[in-house]
């Protein structure tokens, strides 16, 4: 019996009944990884022995007992490397667990490997990894999306039951759409960021990659919650997300923001999303047209705020206390300059420079301050929209997966890949991408459902209703 394509509830059932032991699950998954990962390159690190040991000790009475979960290489796990796909952290071993890791452990999960990503979570294709690109399980010549491309490819390619990812501007939702899996970004402050190597502090959230919406709900129940170690995590009870999934959408109002259906979307993507909207109509939801008038400014706002915050967050990578240090420095300035020049890739350098610039003397008001104000307006757009509807429906990405190397020459082009996901992070609200079809060349298309702050229950319920009425989540890539 091969468990690698099972859902977590299915796997849990087999574990609980004794039909399979946790160690066997790990072995099967490791075999699958050995089979397909040389092509996919989703994993940066996998210590099978360590996973087996953890599996042997797993308490299968716990909600995730014996379930292997892959971790994006940006989240600190005690005793494991955490390179953030960067040369500058090559060799760093984390001396502590991120809070989400503690929660996963307490739920009985088996930590299984570390997945590839764009360096320091900066990118939309995973091509910015210092360790090589990950491939899209549906077409190995194409990108899996980014920055959590490794996690998306692993789950999409059935090399992982589930994976943790992070989303700052769409880095979970966009790769989920491109790899045909469910990618969830919670409301800002829902999940602790303690232990997440920071990119943009006011935007980052840890989230999940799973095959189905129900699994996303299950994992969110585990990882969500207030953390006293994270001053931005909100003290609010965690609902049982799995229990509110099955209510259907009859009577719900679903908003379609007109600014998200513009020229430039791939017509096949638009068609798939429109069909999904029709499906919701069939299921009894009321479709409402709404407007998010400041949408066009979202990418600009993001690239000012995110880069400003990251320029400060990445200042700590200096070769003093951990990570790589340049050889034979003649003094501290030489050490800083060469360590960071040698350790960071081009995209990271670009963003640090841009971020430093927009905060610098004389420019703060025109850039950073102004961007924060426009951000308030973007948040205001969503608040108004949610007075008219319970959730929003949009495409996740304007196109399906593009070819490797297609956009690397033009950073600005790459930034525009996040055009539908970025505003959600700026507003601090929740979003999930679910599979909603394929292009004629069998590339996945994603539907994004956006909920208001703390609206995960509604958002997941809407997502679940569509998923259960469609075949997409059962498709398996031809690996």
């Amino acid at each position: 019996m091969d468990t690698t394509s099972l859902t977590i509830p299915e796997l849990r059932q087999k574990l609980s009944s004794g039909a399979i032991r946790p160690r066997e699950v790990v072995d099967q998954l490791a075999t699958r990884v050995a089979d397909v990962d040389p092509k996919l390159r989703a994993y940066l690190q996998l210590d099978v022995e360590k996973a087996r040991t953890a599996a042997d000790a797993a308490d299968i009475t716990k909600p995730l007992g014996g379930v292997p979960i892959a971790i994006k290489d940006v989240i600190n796990v005690q005793g494991d490397p955490c390179t953030c796909a960067s040369k500058i952290l090559d060799g760093y071993i984390a001396p502590y667990d991120a809070t989400v890791i503690t929660k996963l452990r307490e739920a009985g999960a088996v930590l299984f490997g570390r997945t590839n990503m764009d360096e320091f979570a900066m990118g939309s294709s995973t091509e910015n990894s210092s360790w090589g690109s990950t491939r899209n399980p549906w077409d190995l010549d194409r990108i899996p999306g980014g920055s959590s491309g490794g996690s998306a490819a692993a789950v999409g390619g059935h090399e992982a039951f589930a994976a943790l990812g992070t989303d700052t501007g769409g880095s979970i939702r966009q790769p989920a759409a491109l790899c045909s899996c469910v990618g969830l970004k919670p409301t800002y402050g829902r999940v602790s960021r303690y232990g997440l190597t920071a990119f943009a502090s006011s935007l980052d959230q840890i989230g999940t990659f799973t095959k189905t919406v129900e699994e996303a709900a299950l994992l969110l129940e585990i990882i969500a919650g207030h953390d006293p170690r994270d001053n931005t995590s909100i003290d609010r009870p965690v609902p049982k997300y799995t229990q509110s999934l099955h209510q259907g959408v009859k009577g719900l109002r679903l908003g379609v923001p007109k600014e998200y259906f513009i020229k430039g979307i791939d017509p096949e993507v638009e068609k798939a999303v429109r069909d999904a909207i029709d499906e919701y109509k069939k299921q009894g939801a009321e479709i409402v047209e709404v407007s998010l008038p400041h949408t066009q400014y979202a990418v600009a706002v993001y690239y000012i705020i995110a880069t400003a915050e990251c320029s400060a967050n990445l200042a700590r990578f200096d070769g003093v206390r951990y990570g790589k240090r340049a050889q034979n420095p003649k003094d501290i300035l030489d050490m800083y300059g060469r360590t960071r020049a040698e350790g960071f890739g081009a995209e990271v350098k670009r963003r640090i420079i841009l971020g430093t610039y927009v905060l610098s003397s004389g420019y703060y008001d025109a850039y950073y301050n102004r961007a924060q104000k426009v951000r308030q307006l973007i948040g205001g757009d969503f608040r108004l929209a949610f007075e008219k509807c319970d959730a929003l429906l949009t495409p996740t990405s304007p196109t399906a997966a593009f070819k490797i190397g297609e956009r690397t020459a033009d950073p600005l082009q790459m930034y525009l890949a996040d055009i539908f996901t970025i505003a959600v992070n700026l507003a601090g609200i929740c979003g999930v991408s679910i599979p909603c079809g394929f292009t004629t060349n069998k590339l996945p298309i994603g539907l994004q459902i956006i909920g208001p702050k703390w609206g995960e229950e509604t958002m997941l319920r809407v997502a679940h209703a569509y998923e259960q009425a469609t075949p997409w989540h059962k498709e398996k890539p031809p690996l």
């Binding site: 984390a94 502590y96 502090s201 001053n231 931005t232 400060a312 700590r316 003093v320 430093t356």
Partner: protein
């Protein structure tokens, strides 16, 4: 324009001080590591204060309350809402290469430090030119985190100890209201006293718990524009600050006097050599790229924090002085000396409380007898306060005379036994009981007929011989005043 060279008296000195004070909390500003001086290198560090990837700061509530208390004690305007900001610059003693500080929304604004006479150095206290109770205005008080400590090795490399990194630091910025080295000295003493009074810091400069940078410029008297200022660093004691400023004033006068101009510089004070030397020329200001700290939400002080700080308001030295004179009858000078040391004042009050009317007597014993010979900084008697109270009462009630009191005072420190016990043991009780004294007098009169006859014959001094006899008979315990009165009465009858 005058062609005669200006002398020191022709210049006016303008000084502002920036003080950093380490708060006396159990833990660091943003993590739960122990806030303790002198631990083994890197033994009080954690992922947060080491600036590891993925860590987040969480503000220490006690540090905020202590800062609010300081602001309250100094009469500052307390912000209802304050936030933290990142101050970005690279240095190896900075775990994150940004310091979490407060930029445009500090905890406290305004306020002032009043320069009490006793805050001045002893020689300046007697100087008639010293301005009494001059207020030095404050610009602001804010909270930030301290940096690590670095040790420089001979081979040019340095070793960093992050124990200190993240310690809560209060920064107090004064207006440029000080006009002399003595005023700067007084400012620091007064500030230190406030910190100790409020229990917010021990403010020991030699332990680095209070640090001071001086900004100083001079200008010809009457000139409106400020002169170019220099910043002085590496000041390790309050008296060192005074010495450094005196030197720098002379240096600047010298430069201007010989036709030169002052360059805006940061200068390092060398206390051994007694001079300031150039550290660096101040070119353009550092671009710190301040922006609001996204990892910490804004703090509301009106949800209980300010109330807690107000509850802790101690009685300030000036108020204490007044109360001590009114309640205990001590002189203004004595009240000043007592109020200058919160622990001593506290000791005094405990000693004098059972009988406030004896306050002055208690103060005398404490200040004249104890302090005169006690050693160390801010000494407090090792005996329980009631010893002093008891001694004062024995003396004030006439049970022992002043000579006996001094003997008891010395003995109580040697033996640790209470004054009442000692008086009994040493048989020192001054006898004032009229009956007993009359008995002694009768004895003396009976035994010395010649002296009696001399007195009755008009020799008034003969009573002294009889007095002496009574003192002998009573083994020195008789109240001499009363004895004299009784003898005269008996002999005149």
């Amino acid at each position: 324009m005058s062609t005669t060279p200006l002398t020191a008296a022709d210049y006016e000195v303008v000084i502002g001080l920036e003080v950093h004070c380490q708060l006396k909390t159990n833990t660091k500003m943003f993590c739960g590591c122990k806030n303790e001086f002198g631990g083994a290198s890197n033994s009080h560090v954690c992922p947060v204060c080491l600036g590891l990837p993925g860590v987040l700061p969480v503000p220490n509530e006690e540090a905020i309350v202590k800062t609010l208390l300081t602001g309250e004690m100094l009469g500052c305007q307390i912000a209802t809402r304050c936030k933290f900001d990142r101050k970005n610059y690279f240095y190896p003693d900075m775990p994150k290469n940004y310091q979490i500080s407060q930029y445009d929304e500090p905890l406290c604004l305004g306020g002032a430090v009043t320069l009490d006479l006793l805050a001045y150095p002893k020689d300046a206290q007697k100087d008639p030119a010293t301005v009494i109770d001059k207020p030095i205005r404050l610009t602001r008080i804010h909270l930030e985190e301290d940096v690590a400590k670095s040790f420089h090795f001979d081979d040019g490399t340095s070793g960093i100890d992050f124990n200190r990194a993240g310690t809560p630091l209060m920064e107090i910025v004064s207006e440029a209201d000080m006009a002399s080295a003595e005023e700067a000295f007084a400012y620091l003493s007064a500030l230190k006293q406030i910190f100790v009074y409020g229990g917010v810091s021990d403010a020991d400069m030699e332990k680095g718990q209070m640090r001071c940078d001086v900004n100083i410029s001079i200008r010809p008297r009457g000139q409106k524009e400020y002169g170019t200022k220099c910043e002085l660093k590496n000041l390790n004691s309050i008296s060192g600050v005074r010495r450094a400023i005196k030197y720098e004033i002379a240096r600047q006068i010298d430069v201007l006097g010989s036709g030169g101009t002052i360059r805006q510089e940061t200068r390092r004070w060398d206390d051994d050599k007694g001079e300031t030397t150039l550290m660096r020329v101040k070119e353009k200001a550092h671009d710190y790229r301040y922006f609001p700290e996204p990892d910490i939400q804004a703090v509301r002080t009106d949800h209980g924090l300010y109330d807690r700080a107000k509850e802790r308001m101690p009685e300030l030295p000036s108020a204490k002085k007044v109360r001590l004179t009114e309640k205990f009858g001590v002189s203004a000078y004595q009240a000043g000396v007592l109020a200058a040391d919160a622990a001593l004042a506290d000791y005094f009050e405990k000693a004098a409380a059972p009988k406030p009317a004896n306050g002055a007597a208690v103060a005398n014993f404490l200040l004249n007898d104890f302090l005169a010979t006690a050693t160390g900084e801010n000494p407090i008697p090792s005996l329980a306060p009631h010893f002093f109270g008891e001694l004062a009462e024995l003396s004030a009630s006439g049970q022992i005379n002043s000579k006996q009191a001094k003997e008891v005072f010395a003995q109580m420190f040697v033996t640790g036994r209470s004054p009442a016990v000692l008086v009994a043991e040493l048989g020192l009780a001054q006898v004032s009981d009229v009956g007993a004294l009359e008995a002694f007098c009768d004895q003396a009169i009976a035994a010395n007929p010649k002296s009696v006859a001399d007195f009755k014959a008009g020799k008034q001094n003969a009573v002294n011989a009889l007095k002496g006899q009574v003192m002998k008979l009573s083994k020195g315990t008789a109240n001499p005043q009363l004895v004299g009165d009784i003898l005269v009465r008996k002999l005149s009858a």
